[in-house]
């Protein structure tokens, strides 16, 4: 695809603001996903993420840029998020991304499973006015099975696990001890539901 787009008229790096591009690069190398909407803790509401818009509008440029430095820019259409992965990684590096996948997915899965038992719909897990609150956290912390799984996934506690997924933009922290999932986090759960219903 990139090859056919190599036309100079289409690929134009000049129109990409330098600072925003640097900001995006920083997000990616820190292992974060860039989601369409971000939680703005000052106004307390979801806001359009300029980094996402830039990535989306200049997809060909960014795809080429990251390809040239050994990454592939991945876009999850249903989950509305971007991330990069290294191309041609060796096995030891793959181990780290694998353990990340275990950590992120185990944490999201337990949150989703808990939410499905206590509420009408998991949809609210991704809404900033609902999500997980203090009393939910108490119940999660009291669940012995969840705790054992967290430990064997490499987390110290629920706080550690929530910090891990929040740092990577799979969830947002909306208050002192309240959290909700981002479109990326919700996409994982919705995908599980979709797959189960079709199986």
């Amino acid at each position: 695809m990139i090859k056919s787009q190599l036309d100079e008229d289409v690929i134009n790096f000049k129109t990409i603001p330098f600072e925003q591009s640097v900001g995006i690069y920083r997000e990616f190398v820190n292992g974060r996903v860039v989601t369409k909407l971000m939680f703005d803790s000052i106004s307390g509401e979801m806001k359009e993420n300029v980094a996402f818009s830039l990535l989306f509008n200049k997809r060909f440029e960014f795809e080429l840029l990251y390809k040239l430095i050994g990454f592939s820019l991945e876009f999850h259409e249903k989950g509305d998020f971007f991330f990069v992965k290294a191309v041609g990684v060796n096995s030891s590096e793959d181990d780290i991304s694998d353990s990340n996948a275990v950590k992120i997915q185990a944490c999201l899965l337990m949150l989703g499973r808990y939410y499905a038992t206590v509420s009408i719909s998991i949809e609210q897990l991704g809404m900033c006015q609902f999500g997980i609150n203090e009393s939910d956290l108490d119940k999660l912390r009291a669940n012995i099975e969840f705790n054992s799984i967290l430990k064997s996934a490499g987390f110290k506690s629920w706080d550690d696990a929530l910090r891990f997924i929040t740092e990577r933009n799979f969830a947002f922290k909306s208050g002192k001890s309240t959290y909700f999932l981002s479109s990326a986090g919700m996409h994982y759960l919705n995908n599980l539901v979709g797959e189960y219903s079709n199986s």
Binding site: K85, D98, S121, I149
Partner: protein, 473 residues
């Protein structure tokens, strides 16, 4: 079932071991009996289960299974309590204790405590209470009294054990709800037709098993016929207190607390099941999907509980490889700028110094090095070669390094003629096992790096070295 006329048979322990090693057979047999509500299984049914299972195992295990499950072996090792033939059907009755063992290992095989079971347990406690409190019929110290006290504690222990297992069983109620409503969640038509069916199943589970247990364990419950469990325990404690039997009184207080602890999880299960009944089709679909995915996660987790102690981290069996695959922190290129700080200059001078030293010691060793045939594969020559490397390494200055292999590789590859991977192995081994332990702390890191040799790349685990005493060898 396929009985082989084989003289061999196993002892009871050995048979139970085989049964436990292949626990699926007994688990299937037990769930079959429970489903039918019978206390026996027909010879044919058991035979089919064993036959099915045998497909999966190797020839040695197959023979062991055949012997273990032969009628003669089962009878002689007392696994079977009885066997009878009615209308030409041979039925096996297993020992209750053998079945109990399997129920213990697999929570889903445990039978729920029903209302009537709980009531009969309570009734026998009432009887003991009347016996123990009537001092005229059973005076303190009489045999009747002693036996009743023993009976009381064994009853309480049984009750607590079965309640505990019941709670474990109910904690897995989520998985059960999922399997009950799988069909219902798949489509609108299926939902309408099967809703009534699953609702009645859930209501049965709730009304006949969860609620009675909940009521039984609730300290506030009032029962027409007599005191509830907790009131009874207080009565028993007072009896023992008045007789100055303090250790018995403490035991009773302890079981009071124990029963109280069981109440909370049951309450939680009841709440969850109650909420489930009000769920819509969409939310049941979500619930089921997450429950089934969660069971996969639990299965991955349970693998970490196996006998293999090396495995403590959860595996990736449950992971969806299409979701954000390959996401991780990436290292950014670091600048290789020339610094002007004193520390930087010291490091550079140090490096040059070391290189000069290394070169000088090779000069001293030149004759020895030339005396070895470096291309030979003869053992004698190889030993000589390692001796030379060792002599050379003694002369090398030992320093802190974050990656021993890379450091040594960089230093000796220009020093030795026909340098090869084997030399690096030898050097690392000599350093790690002979030189360093006395003066440095060696740390094997859980990170890997790569080294290149003749167009091949080799991966190795990084070793870090910190010199503790400043002395060189």
């Amino acid at each position: 079932m396929a009985v082989r006329f084989n003289k061999e048979r196993y002892s009871t322990i050995e048979t139970i071991k085989i049964l436990l090693n292949h626990s699926q057979i007994m688990e299937r047999a037990i769930s079959r009996m429970d489903k039918a509500g019978e206390r026996f299984i027909s010879e044919v049914d058991l035979g089919v289960i064993v036959l099915d299972y045998k497909e999966k195992v190797g020839p040695t295990e197959k023979t062991r299974l055949e012997v273990a499950f032969s009628l003669r072996n089962l009878l002689e090792s007392n696994i079977l309590a009885d066997k009878d033939t009615i209308d030409g059907v041979t039925r096996y009755m297993f020992q209750e204790s053998v079945l109990g063992l399997f129920r213990l290992c697999n929570a889903s095989l445990f039978q729920e405590l029903t209302d009537s079971k709980l009531k009969s347990l309570l009734a026998s406690l009432w009887r003991l209470e009347s016996v123990l409190s009537d001092r005229s019929k059973t005076p303190y110290g009489s045999f009747d009294f002693k036996e009743s006290v023993d009976e009381l504690f064994s009853q309480l222990a049984t009750l607590q054990g079965s309640l505990q297992r019941n709670v474990e069983r109910m904690k897995s109620v989520g998985a059960e709800l999922e399997s009950m409503t799988t069909e219902a969640s798949k489509g609108a038509v299926a939902f309408a037709s099967s809703r009534g069916e699953y609702l009645s199943k859930i209501t049965h589970l709730f009304e006949r098993h969860i609620q009675p247990t909940q009521t039984f364990l609730n300290p506030k419950t009032r029962i027409e016929e007599g005191p509830n469990l907790f009131e009874l325990l207080v009565v028993f404690r007072d009896i023992f207190d008045s007789l100055e039997m303090s250790s018995e009184a403490i035991l009773i207080s302890r079981s009071y607390l124990g029963f109280g602890n069981v109440f909370k999880p049951i309450d939680q299960v009841a709440e969850d099941v109650g909420k489930f009944i009000y769920k819509t089709r969409k939310s049941i679909a979500e619930y089921n999907a997450l429950e089934s995915a969660y069971q996969n996660l639990v299965a991955s987790y349970q693998k970490t509980l196996s006998a293999d102690l090396r495995r403590s981290k959860i595996g990736n069996e449950f992971v969806d490889h299409h979701f954000a695959h390959g996401l991780k922190r990436h290292s950014r290129p670091l600048p290789h700028a020339v610094g002007d700080s004193p520390a930087y200059i010291r490091a550079v001078v140090n490096e040059i110094d070391t290189m000069a030293d290394d070169a000088l010691c090779v000069d001293r060793y030149k004759d020895v090095i030339d005396g070895v045939d470096w291309c030979s594969t003869e053992t004698v020559e190889r030993i000589k070669r390692i001796e030379v490397i060792k002599g050379l390494l003694v002369e090398l200055r030992i320093r802190d390094t974050v990656d021993l292999a890379k450091d040594l590789h960089g230093r000796i590859h220009s020093l030795l003629p026909f340098y090869s991977l084997v030399d690096l192995f030898a050097a690392i081994r000599i350093f790690e096992s002979e030189f360093l332990p006395k003066i440095a702390r060696i740390t094997k890191l859980n990170f890997f790096s790569e080294i290149e040799f003749n167009e091949y790349r080799y991966s190795y685990r990084i070793t870090r070295v910190n010199i503790i005493s400043g002395e060189n060898l």
